[in-house]
Assembly symmetry: C2
C-alpha cells in the first residue's frame, strides 16, 4: 500500500495508469486497486478514470514520515525522523531514543497525552497540532544552551511570518504570540556535565489545525487555523521550520549577533512594561534587550538595569497602574 502511495506522491497532479503502476511495482492490477481502496479508507482522496488511471487529489491531515523525508530541504535536521501516532510527550520520547540518535534527529507525534510547557505546566496537544522535538548534540558548554532556545524561537517566528504572513511576536523566553495569544511554545531541555552539553532536546509545539474548542477556558491561546480561517499543511510547516531552524542554528555558531538581533526585531517583549516573577521576587520594568546568553535586560522604574536569566514574564499594558493585574 505504501508503495502505491509513494508512486502517486512522486507524481503530484498527474494521472498514472494502473497498468504502468502495477508493472513498475511488480504487483497485479487487482492488488493496485485494493491498495487504492485502503488509501481511500484512510482519508486519501484518489480520483480514478478507466482511461487515465489514478490521480492523488488530496492527502489527509496525517503526517507521513516518508513524505516529510522526501520534502526535506535540510542537510542534517530531521534526516533521522521518528514518528508516533501518540506519545506522552515528544521530549520524553526524544530522551528515550537520544542514546542512539544522531545530531539533528527529530521526533514527531500526532498527539501528546502529557504535553508539557515550562516548569512542568500542562500543554494541550490534541490531534491537528505539530508536536515535535529536535535532538541536538552541539559542542557547547551548558551555560550557552539558551542560545539554542533563541535560535529556534527566531526560526519559528520567521517560518510563521513568511509562510502565512502572520504578525508573530516572540515573548521572552520561549512563546510565540499572535496579538497576545500563544500560538507556539518551545521547551528546551538539556543533559550536561558541568562544562559540556551531552545533548539538547528542543520541544516545539505549534497550535496548527486546532479549532477554538481545543482550548476550553484558555483565553490566551490561539491556533494558526483560528488566525487564518483555514487549515494549513502541517507537512509544509514542518519542512519549512526545519529548514529555517537549521539556518538559525548555523547562524548561532557563525554569527550569533545576527540571531540576537533578529530575536530583538521579532520580539513582542522588548520596549514593553513587563513583570518578571522569580522564585521569591517580583520585578517590574521595561524590557530593553536580550544579551547573547538569552538573558532579558530590564530597566526598572528607578532607572537601573537588571539582567534576568529565568522567570515568568508577564506583558503589562502600560495603561493604568490598577490594570496591571495587581
Amino acid at each position: 500500500m505504501l508503495d502505491v502511495l509513494s508512486y502517486l506522491m512522486d507524481r503530484p497532479g498527474s494521472w498514472v495508469s494502473g497498468e504502468e503502476m502495477a508493472s513498475s511495482l511488480g504487483i497485479s492490477r487487482a492488488a493496485v486497486w485494493k491498495q487504492i481502496q485502503i488509501l481511500r479508507s484512510r482519508g486519501y482522496s484518489i480520483l480514478s478514470s478507466t482511461r487515465k488511471g489514478y490521480l492523488l487529489a488530496q492527502v489527509p491531515d496525517i503526517l507521513d514520515r516518508r513524505s516529510i523525508t522526501r520534502a526535506l530541504e535540510t542537510g542534517y535536521l530531521g534526516r533521522e525522523l521518528h514518528y508516533q501516532s501518540e506519545t506522552s510527550s515528544t521530549n520524553d520520547l526524544a530522551r528515550s531514543v537520544v542514546g542512539s540518535a544522531r545530531n539533528g534527529a527529530v521526533v514527531l507525534s500526532e498527539i501528546q497525552t502529557s504535553g508539557r510547557g515550562r516548569l512542568g505546566r500542562e500543554w494541550l496537544s490534541p490531534r491537528g497540532g505539530v508536536w515535535m522535538s529536535l535532538i541536538l548534540k552541539p559542542n557547547l558548554p551548558p551555560a550557552l544552551a539558551p542560545r539554542i532556545n533563541m535560535a529556534v524561537g527566531v526560526a519559528l517566528a520567521r517560518t510563521l511570518s513568511e509562510l502565512y504572513g502572520l504578525q508573530v511576536g516572540i515573548k521572552w523566553p520561549n512563546d510565540l504570540l499572535v496579538g497576545e495569544k500563544k500560538v507556539c511554545g518551545i521547551l528546551t531541555e538539556i543533559s550536561a556535565e558541568m562544562d559540556r552539553l551531552n545533548y539538547v532536546v528542543v520541544g516545539v509545539g505549534i497550535n496548527a489545525n486546532l479549532d477554538g474548542g481545543a482550548f476550553p477556558g484558555l483565553w490566551n491561546a490561539t491556533s494558526l487555523q483560528q488566525e487564518l480561517g483555514r487549515r494549513v499543511s502541517r507537512e509544509e510547516l514542518i519542512v519549512r521550520f526545519l529548514k529555517e531552524a537549521e539556518r538559525s542554528l548555523e547562524d548561532m555558531t557563525s554569527d550569533l549577533e545576527k540571531v540576537r538581533q533578529e530575536w530583538c526585531l521579532r520580539s513582542s517583549t522588548l520596549n514593553r512594561l513587563v513583570r518578571i516573577e522569580l522564585a521569591g521576587e517580583e520585578l517590574v520594568g521595561t524590557a530593553r534587550s536580550i544579551d547573547q546568553e538569552g538573558a532579558l535586560l530590564i530597566e526598572t522604574e528607578e532607572g537601573t538595569m537588571r539582567r534576568v536569566l529565568a522567570g515568568d514574564c508577564i506583558h503589562l499594558r502600560p495603561v493604568k497602574r490598577d490594570d496591571q493585574g495587581r
Copy 2:
C-alpha cells in the same frame, strides 16, 4: 541471615547468647547456627563460645546498606540509599532511578564496569573503592549548578583531611590530589530546562582501598591505601563524607562566599602556573581565584584577567619554560 547480622551489629563488642537471639528473632537455635555459618562464609569473623554465645569480631570490606543507614548522621542525604554489587556507572544508575528518587538519595556500587570521568574519559573503578552518586533536586537555575560541584569538592577535601590528616588539594574543576596524584574525582551531571534544574547527579569516585596494581600505567593516580599504608573503613568514609556534603550544600544556599573561600583555601590550583586547554584554544597563566559560578580566573603573562568556565587544567611547574610540556 540478615536478621542475625543486624542483631549482632546492634551489639558491637558484646557476646550474645544463641538462645536469646533465637527467641528474639522467633527462629530455632539451629537456624541461628546455620545463618552464622553463612555469614562466616561471606567474610564476617564471628567468634563463638558454648558458654557466652556469639560475638561479631570483624565485618568484611563490603558495604552494607543497613549498616551505613544506621551510622548516617545526616538529615536527608543518603537517607534513601540504593546499593548494587556491580553497575555500569553509579551516575547511570542514579539517572535510571531519579524519577522516583527523593532529593538526597544516594546510589552506591562495589564495582563500576564503565566508570566515567569528565568528557567521557575512563575512570577505573575496581572493588575496594567508593563509587557513589548523589541525587539532588535543588531549586536552582542550571547556570548555578557549578556551585554544587564546588560544595561537594570542598566537602570531600574536608573529609579526607579531617579523617586521615592527608594534605589534599582540589584541582580545578573537580579532582582531589594528594601531591600531584588523583585520589578522587567528581563528575557532576545535570538535567534541566533553560531556567530550572530538573535534577543534579553528583558522581563521586574515591580510590580508597586500592593497591598500586589497580592503576597499571597511570602515573598520576593514587589511593588512600597507598598514601596511608593501611586500609580504611569505607563505611566510615561514606558516612563522614555525606555529613560534610550535607553541610556544604547547606552553606551553598545560606553563605556561598564561605564555600568559595574554603574552596580557595583547599585548592592546589590557585597561585600556580596552569595551562587551560579549551576546544580550539590554549591559555597559560597564573590561576588567581574562582568566582561564585565556579569559573577560574587566570592572570595571563600579559597581565590581563581571563575567566574560564570550562576546559582541562594542567598544573605546570614554574621552573623552566622548556619544562612546561611544550
